[in-house]
């Protein structure tokens, strides 16, 4: 059973963002001029109705802008990314560097905080599909997962709370190289990952797997569990409950290490940060595959977001 007991110490009481809210309804300003709010606005000067509008608008904007994009897209040429950084030579040089290393394409994911897990899951299955014997590789992947799943119960997850999510991932892996009519193809893999139900279920399962890996291996992880904003050390349980298990929480080094270990994959993350004067890109490797020579899945990291790098500039699929 998992739960989030509140700390022993009663935390301070919630308080209003705007402590000076008028206690009676203030007449609306005349006219229908849109409310302009920026960082200089004193929220205490707003009426309750204006605050309502502000809050609603922010919510609408944040949900709309992200839901216009597919959860994960087909491969696009890397020059598309290059054009976006037009005027930022430090980034352009790094993108050109990636191209010289053979990365001619990018597969974008939606920036919803789940992009690391979604990218890794997609690239992981795609990698299995590209091996000489995909059916065998898929069987190995399934047995790795089957061996890891009991950890979820060990750390206290209810079976009913993860088995449906696991089943979605297994369902896809079983279709790799199966020879059956529903054998996974690049098209059906992409459409599965674009379908919210399948895609989110897999993200959730990988989050729980990551959490279990962190919680079950204190020697490897406990020394690195810090609050991402405040820097204080956290217990594995608190860290996982706050920054691994909830959807929408971005992954950092700890989560990447843990998931690579749980899945036994090799992964490389290219950091596109504009820092290197010569345009070189740092790759951080997570090597956990049983066979160290297994080619890694390669992700592109820009602060706050992960996409997948691809050696192809386009993929030959019909959408």
């Amino acid at each position: 059973m998992t739960s989030t007991p509140l700390p022993e110490e009663q935390p301070p009481a919630p308080r209003l963002n705007a402590t000076q809210l008028p206690d009676v309804d203030v007449p609306q300003p005349s006219g229908n001029a849109p409310l302009v709010v920026d960082e200089n606005t004193d929220l205490s000067t707003l009426t309750p109705a204006q605050l309502y509008e502000l809050n609603q608008r922010t919510l609408d904007e944040s949900t709309r802008s992200s839901s216009d994009l597919p959860l994960i897209a087909a491969v696009a040429p890397i020059r598309v990314l290059r054009e976006e950084y037009d005027g930022a030579p430090a980034f352009v040089r790094q993108i050109d560097f990636l191209a010289t290393k053979g990365y001619h394409g990018i597969r974008r994911t939606r920036g919803d905080g789940d992009c690391f897990y979604r990218s890794l899951a997609f690239a992981y299955i795609e990698r299995i599909m590209s091996t000489p014997d995909p059916a065998l590789e898929a069987t190995i992947a399934i047995s790795t997962l089957d061996a890891a799943v009991p950890l979820l119960e060990t750390v206290g997850f209810d079976k009913f709370a993860y088995e449906d999510f696991y089943e979605e991932l297994l369902g896809l892996l079983r279709r790799v190289g199966s020879g059956a009519p529903d054998q996974l193809s690049p098209e059906t893999l992409l459409s599965a990952f674009q379908a919210p139900e399948v895609s989110t279920a897999i993200v959730v399962f990988l989050r729980l797997l990551t959490s279990a890996q962190i919680r079950c291996d204190p020697d490897a992880f406990d020394a690195f569990l810090f609050h991402p904003d405040f820097g204080n050390q956290m217990t594995a349980r608190d860290f996982c409950e706050s920054f691994v298990e909830p959807t929408g929480k971005e992954a950092d080094h700890v989560q990447m290490t843990a998931l690579a270990r749980a899945l036994k994959v090799n992964a490389k993350v290219a950091y596109l940060d504009g820092h290197d004067p010569n345009g070189a890109v740092d790759f951080v490797s997570f090597e956990s595959a049983l066979d160290p020579s297994t080619p890694p899945v390669v992700l592109l990291y820009r602060p706050g977001h992960y996409d997948i790098l691809d050696t192809r500039s386009l993929e030959a699929i019909q959408l």
Binding site: R15, A161, D164, F165, R207
Partner: protein
């Protein structure tokens, strides 16, 4: 997401019927897949000794990817607890019902967390700004965006 939602709620209900609920929590009704009711009491010594509250869980087809809407019932029989994180309309400020929700949590896990929230209360008082919030609050607490100030899961209220 409807199939996951129905399957999951079915399993949770079966789990409740087979394994029971934590001590102090009782099922009032779960007649449909939209809304379940429970009573909840705090065990042992607390400021709420002898008090019984009712909780309403509202589900839609985004469950369990997104948290259920959970509120304390306010009707002729039940009143919400007076607590610094519970508004007098029954809305609850708790991070696991918002940003910290995880699909691995469940109805039972939420009940345990709320029991623990009540048990650790040191002073019965309403949240500051209760009147303003209650006056402007939407019916569905999930439409309120609560902002969490720091790692103690202490929510601020952003007027919805």
């Amino acid at each position: 997401m409807s199939s996951v939602y129905m399957r999951r709620l079915g399993k949770e209900l079966m789990d409740i019927q087979c394994d029971g609920l934590p001590e102090g929590v009782r099922l009032l009704s779960a007649d449909n897949m939209q809304s379940w009711f429970f009573t909840i009491q705090v065990l042992g010594q607390s400021l709420y000794e002898g008090e019984v509250f009712a909780l309403e869980f509202r589900f839609d087809n985004s469950y369990p990817f997104s948290a259920p809407a959970v509120l304390f019932v306010k009707d002729r029989t039940y009143a919400p607890p007076i607590h610094p994180h519970v508004y007098s309309n029954g809305h609850i400020c708790a991070s696991i019902l918002g940003d910290d929700w995880s699909p691995s949590l469940s109805v039972t896990a939420v009940c345990i967390t709320l029991q623990s929230m009540l048990a650790s209360c040191k002073e019965k008082k309403l949240p500051p700004g209760n009147d303003t919030y209650v006056r402007t609050a939407p019916d569905n607490p999930k439409k309120t965006r609560f902002v969490y100030e720091d790692d103690t899961c202490d929510p601020l209220l952003c007027v919805s």
